[in-house]
Subunit: 323 residues, 3 copies
């Protein structure tokens, strides 16, 4: 597998400083790149690695052009990380191109489903009556898309994803649960990626909505009637309970939980493993998890924590005594 | 899609105040209901919405009969939410009735499995030798039911559920793990619903048991030899470790973890994301997660938390000095 | 189902004290074992159960030989729990032997995949072009193994596992996410067991690696470029973010989260539901979760926790005033 630096430059642009005939045989992180590799400088804090790297070309910000060109070839761009992302796409298209439109012989598409002719439907996928799959969208394998569920264009739905299972709705009566039929569907926009074994439930009355450009990692749970705004990303194992309304351009760290019926405005960033128990109406970074420690230390602090309110009152008492 | 109010009343009962010929074209939450919709008042705290709603009929508690009938048609019942649940069932049965007994052509049922003739076995489901599927039970798609696993009657098992994978059992020896074969099965009662991609492991020696009426949401993990009492409900992403014994009529919030070999008595309610580390022998509500905050505030409090036991001792020292 | 004690002894060794002709009809925990059962004493703290058990034979440590032989037959070994594990294997091989090499008629193996002739490929499994499945490995059902993914010998991959979905990699540009193609694969060693519906993502540039003897429970998420050292075990619902490097012989409790790019050395033990936010360079036990409590108590302590840093400063002020 090989690309000339000139081919990369021609395909992706940027300012190339160095020879177009340099042979690139691999992509690598800056710390482990060898001769023949192309790499990138993702953050000014890694600038010291620029001088040490053996890479044959480094993609850099304009402010590092001088430093980078002293050591060898470089491509100067405003967003090296995004350039690098496009380079991975170029690399893949050259060396292991994706399949064209296909329906795998083991897939089952209901005659009443609407699947765009350009879609790619992998092994053991099931698209039920009334479901819609958009142009260029790819269901990898073992994906379920139920009735009334619509997946937009250019989506990647990874293996084992379940779109349109019933939302979790039951009314209590005489200590039993009465099922609330889930009459809504799921509406997934364009350019959405959903990770393996994630679930997006159908709505109770209206649709669960995932807007354009949303990226969900593996094992994510999206409850019924949730609304996820455009270009929001959630890492693995996140759970979003029913009717939560999450804004655009948010990020939610792995294992975080968002309770039901809450609102998160645009540009809210939730740290991993945090539990969102109230609406967040101001953009920013929010966190809440117990810091890890040696088990013995944790035990003492956790025990004290269970008396914290008492401690506060005792402190208040002391303060009064002192005044 | 349309039902007359009289048809609803005839099917589901309650005291109808208003004309039987009113046409109902949809179900909606009280806050967004429009003319033609039927809605319900779920909780007295939403009473102010009763006067504002445009709905053509509201299902209400007896104490709201006067207020509701002043504004239009209403149905008066003791449990509006349960009535509404049954209405969703009626609506669905009229407008998108569920399929009768079927075995999807892609499903694989072992000749030595016992599947009730009224069961519904969806695409890519696998029912192994020695497994049993009860009357009217529905396996949606990509469901696995292994040998020695029994699913009762009137259950809904959503897509991707795995019933009867091996419990996680290994004995350490010379720094290696020796597999403990899981010789038990799984016993699931009647009227159980299990959400998409959830897992119920087989027991080590005896069966893992899910009693009648239990409702599990998506991505729930039930370890080997767990016993879940009747009518208990667990929200998404809950994990229950091996041999835990959970009572009847419990609720466990999303993302909570129950450690192994614990006992929870009946009517225990665990908040989302809480970690149950000891048996709970008294009914009630239990919680334990770190409250979310602005990241900067959290950082300071988390840092202080790691010294909390020290702080307690310093406080004690001050108190002694003061007396 | 029946084995003579002499057959067990002959197959598994140890020092048998008692008659070889005793009939064993079941395996059971010491607390519930009945006549005809064989059981084991796993820990000295359960020694009082030794005298009460009705079991026909007890597997014990040497120090309990006298006590055990007074009450009936026993087998004396250095590691009763490992002996018991092997006994479950013997029992299973006698009473419900595992299938020999097979490819289920519903499985789909790409002609360019390499599947060892001794492997067992269950219903609805998909092995893509360029994937490799080792000797005696068993894919249970609905398993996906994508291109460039290698599963070693003697592995058990439970139902619904996804090996080789794309890692979660996107570069931000103009408030959109640009996909970083995941060009690496997955390399899984020998004797690995992966629980139902777990996911192991392919690497971004290099492979995600699971070394020999690793045991993962259900619903575990392993991000791209993670490296899991030999004989490490992770309980259900664990999430390990990208590029984390976890040592050998570690254990990670259920629902724990390990953030990306961290290193855990060998023999690190993480408690359930703990969040690993920094590298752990010293073997030991680490914990971090909020202790559960009655909801009302938790509310007070959680409220105080949000002022903890303030409290610390107030305490410091008091201390200064006192000196």
């Amino acid at each position: 597998m090989l690309l000339l630096l000139g081919q990369i430059h021609q395909a992706l642009g940027g300012a190339l400083i160095g020879s177009k005939s340099i042979e690139i045989v691999g992509l690598a992180p800056i710390a482990s790149a060898k001769a023949g590799d192309i790499t990138f400088l993702s953050h000014p804090q890694f600038a010291d690695q620029l001088q040490k790297t053996q890479a044959s070309c480094v993609i850099v910000f304009p402010q590092f052009q001088d430093l980078a060109s002293q050591r060898g070839a470089c491509i100067v761009v405003d967003n090296p990380y995004a350039y690098y992302a496009r380079l991975t796409q170029l690399w893949k298209s050259q060396h292991s191109p994706e399949p064209q439109a296909f329906v795998h012989p083991t897939a089952w598409i209901d005659p009443l489903a609407q699947v765009h002719p350009s879609a790619r439907i992998g092994p053991f996928c099931w698209v039920d009556a009334g479901a819609t799959i958009g142009a260029n969208t790819w269901l990898k394998s073992h994906v379920s898309v139920s009735r009334q569920c619509k997946v937009g264009a250019n989506c990647i739905i990874h293996s084992g994803v379940v779109i349109g299972a019933d939302g979790f709705g039951f009314a209590p009566e005489n200590s039993h649960w009465i099922k609330i039929e889930q009459l809504g569907g799921v509406h997934i926009g364009d350019d959405v990626e959903i990770g393996a074994n994630s679930c997006v439930d159908r709505g109770a009355l209206e649709d669960t909505v995932i807007e354009n450009g949303v990226k969900l990692d593996n094992l994510v749970q999206i409850g019924h009637n949730v609304h996820v705004g455009a270009h929001t990303a959630m890492a693995g194992c996140v759970g979003v309970a029913g009717s939560a309304r999450i804004g655009a351009h948010c990020t939610i760290g792995g294992g975080a939980v968002v309770l039901g019926h809450l609102q998160l405005v645009d540009h809210v960033h939730i740290s991993a493993a945090s539990v969102v128990t109230r609406s967040i109406l101001q953009a920013g970074n929010y966190t809440g998890f117990f810091p890890i420690d040696h088990n013995a230390t944790w035990e003492k602090n956790a025990a004290s924590l269970r008396q914290l309110n008492q401690l506060r009152h005792r402190l208040k008492g002391l303060e009064k005594g002192n005044t």
